[in-house]
């Protein structure tokens, strides 16, 4: 048993430091992580992942949708988190959508993965 268990495909090992926090399987977890994380920390993940965002999608896209191996599945979850934080970084400049006040909308169902 190693101290740092690797989650991601070896080609994407540089993102292991982000895996623990951002490899999240559900939208509810990703939304909560975005709201609960300070913007500078969100930006570190965003800046690190951005250059290989497209490459990561292409990597996952090599597998059939119903048979994605675990390491690629973790990478897919990281991609989903990247989409989630892109809204905060690119669109709103803050974690919450502008003017959303106290509104809450829950995603209650969706496809897997």
């Amino acid at each position: 048993m190693t101290v740092t268990e690797s989650r991601l495909p070896s080609a994407f090992a540089e993102f292991e430091p982000f895996a623990e926090k951002w490899c999240l399987a559900t939208e509810a977890e990703r939304w909560q992580a975005r709201l609960a994380t300070p913007m500078p920390e969100i930006r570190r993940f965003y800046d690190a992942f951005s250059p290989r965002f497209e490459e990561a999608i292409d990597y996952c896209d090599k597998f059939p949708l119903d048979d994605v191996p675990d390491d690629a599945l973790h990478l897919l979850h990281l991609i989903y988190s990247m989409i989630m934080v892109s809204m905060a970084i690119e669109v709103f400049g803050q974690q919450k959508p502008t003017d959303s006040a106290d509104a809450v909308i829950d995603r209650v169902a969706g496809p897997v993965p």
Binding site: E27, I83, S86, E90, V91, A101, R107, P111
Partner: protein, 419 residues
Amino acid sequence: MGRWPKPAEGSWTEHYPELGTAPVSFRDSTSPEFYELEREAVFKRAWLNVGRVEEVPRVGSYFTKEIDAAKTSVIVVRGKDETIRAFYNVCRHRGNKLVWNDFPNEEVNGTCRQFTCKYHGWRYDLKGDLTFVQQQSEFFDLDSADYGLKPVHCDVWNGFIFINFDPEPRWGLREFLGPMITALDDYPFGLLTERYDFAAQNNSNWKIFADAFQEYYHVPSLHSQQVPSAVRQPNQTFECGHFQIDGPHRLVSTAGTRRWLLDPEYMYPVERITRSGLVGPWRTPETHFSAGLNPGGIEPWGITNFQIFPNLEILIYHGWYLLYRYWPTSHNTHKFEAYNAFHPAQTVRERIEHEVASVVLKEFALQDAGMLGGTQAALEYDVVDDFPLSDQEILVRHLHKVAVDWVQEYKAERSPVGV
């Protein structure tokens, strides 16, 4: 001079003279008394969409629906004959709520061979017939045939399940929907089965919320972030290509530029990389065209937004659609249900495209939901009640007029005649 031609009368609003052009009242959205009337006049008379046939895929598949506006709960189930039926969710023995799991007020779904009451074990088959009474000989002349579940009128249009609480509905479902909506008879909703579902409790009247989704006049202001800041125009306008009204129902079509034809600076990086975004995946499988989809002949067509009275919106994009339902829970609150529906993803990349569109939907719907709590609060100050509506807001005018008309008709039926 606008980009899109208006009707000969000079405006969309004047094309429907019954709407008038005067400022409107929103007391229909702040008054508890009006809401009580609306429950009877609207929600117990109109056909209400409660789901899709895909939600009851097999014999015995069921779901329950809590409908606060009608103060009731309904079971929708697919029978052995494949017919989808609806029943009041009430055991005929002692009135217990028949189908629920952990908490009586939570909606549930599943598959079963029969419904069994938790209280005394009475059983009903999928047609609602009472099939088992514990210790039947202890009862007095009990004829099981008299104690089936109480049915609710239920019918299906193009895969959408509708119910009607009126003991004798004034119209069949197709007649209620009318020609503008049933022109979508051949639209293949049944192919678009990959769904992302959302739910919310919002602090506004259901009509006030619906209003934000039936005009685009607010988009450049409230949703300015839909365009990257570098290319955002301070006085950006939005003009819709076509409005149409048919009975209590409405639609609006807008033009749309194919996203991949836009200059890159008009898109966010996440959109360029995932090839998806605000208006969904850039490219979708071909969906055959329905004559009802673009009745205004808008080119290039972008979306058509069908507002089906009272509380259903179906917004169709190229090859996918989103659906909203607004279920009032009081005069100033409602439950909001929404989903995106796509062709099932064939690849991981397509699934990522759907994820992006579903993330974006929530972002901008949250802006509407947050702001409309403020709208509701300020309307309830009740200091102003003559609100001017532009031609771009014709559908807002229409929804409130129809709701008031239905309430007036209901009241007229109940008031003494010839006094």
